[in-house]
Symmetry: C2
Subunit: 258 residues, 2 copies
């Protein structure tokens, strides 16, 4: 039998710019122990890091966080939905800019470097409580082809982010070809089942997965985005079609000119 | 504080065609209680339902399961990777046809109707143990833009599949615009952290999320796929571009003919 538990403590109130996240978590989770994984919503990380901008600038904030527009969809009465690659390599609606659970008239940007935020929280918890934990910083995102949002790992420290089963063998003795599990994302998803926007519990502690924690901080969640040449969906269908159509017509014009 | 646990029992051995899944689960989990969620890998559901075909026919099996090809990628030495919509509305590599952990020379198809499989397992557990549980049938899938595989819900019964937070308010009193959580997928992901291909534990029990279970079987996981008009990625970038290019050149040819 294997087992783990996920607990979302009470007692983490509103987080404000400059708040010491390690102090807040240590206070709410005094029983943390080696091998626990502390899962923190990026929202409170961003708040503690003062990543708040005026809401008048929501569209400008999205543009500023955007590295590349992947797809857009017009919507009646509101600005178009923009699915973009942001500066963290995450492909997200609105670049991850968030307007819920923020002070009226403001929006929240993602942390500057969520892996670094995770490392600092991990070091802070070690300093305060003397424990060696893993840390995951989460954000909420939609999925292609699938309804509903799930939480993902956008920052991590002291944790195996992917569990590589290549080279291991299945029960019939054959090598497991391409089985790489995104365990940090699965931990983020599990934690979301007890924390959440409405409940006011932005932190969860996962206990029983100590085999996934590591001594060093590790590579972080920045290894999870997979873009570039292996990305078969680097552009929305409508955008790619339009580009092809323009190129085809361009040949027409070029031919006419000849 | 809120808390839940995820436990993967030992004692579910190899599953064979015709095996009674409810009997196997009831035997391995005699302590099941009302409000538990039983998470079962589709692999053993398929095996119990005899969804095995000869491995010579792997490519033919993928074709048979395919409703629509979304994208393909050539690979050296092996047949092209095909990302397709299958008959369950799931967009997956190889249509969800699985060649690991199956008898040599065979591959496994997904259950014919995983929601129905979930309903039958739920009814069987009620009959055998007198408990009212939720059931999730999972499969493993890759994600666009993100490395690593995660588990998803492809079948469900007795469980809220999505948790609709629209109409609820955040801590600042504003309505949570479009927050629909795919909790069945998050449960599938959580369960994968203790079950798994290598460990030989194809079932997990989630305890503490009884508020997500329901009296009736509910709509099942078939409500999760989101395709059609709202799908901005109905075709791979290369495929959409090629279609646009052909259409643009078609205008050229049409112009020539005139």
């Amino acid at each position: 039998m294997t087992e783990f538990s996920v607990t979302a403590p009470d007692g983490i109130g509103e987080v404000r710019p400059g708040d010491d996240l390690a102090a807040l978590v240590a206070h709410a989770c005094p029983d943390l122990t080696d091998g626990d994984v502390v899962v923190v919503a990026s929202k409170i990380v961003s708040k503690s890091e003062g990543r708040v901008v005026p809401a008048d600038d929501r569209e400008a904030a999205i543009t500023a966080e955007t590295v590349r527009v992947v797809a857009t969809r017009e919507r009646p009465g509101v600005p178009p939905l923009r699915i973009v690659e942001n500066r963290l390599g995450l492909v997200m609606a609105a670049a991850g800019v968030d307007a819920s659970n923020t002070p009226e008239g403001t929006v929240l940007l993602l942390p500057v470097d969520p892996d670094d935020s995770a490392r600092r929280l991990r070091a802070g918890l070690r300093e305060r409580l003397g424990v060696r934990v893993g840390v995951v910083v989460t954000d909420t995102a939609g999925r292609v082809w699938r309804d509903g949002l799930v939480d993902l790992a956008i920052g991590a420290a002291g944790l195996r982010v992917v569990e590589d089963e290549r080279g291991r063998r299945d029960s019939a003795g054959r090598e497991l070809g391409m089985t790489v599990r995104a365990v940090a994302d699965e931990i983020a998803a599990a934690a979301d089942l007890v924390k959440g926007k409405v409940t006011g519990r932005p932190v969860a502690v996962v206990r029983g997965l100590g085999h996934l924690t590591t001594d060093d901080d590790g590579p972080g969640a920045k290894i999870l985005p997979r873009l570039g040449e292996v990305d078969l969906f680097s552009e929305g269908t409508a955008e790619a079609y339009a580009r092809g159509l323009a190129d085809g017509r361009g040949e027409l014009r070029a031919g006419t000119r000849r």
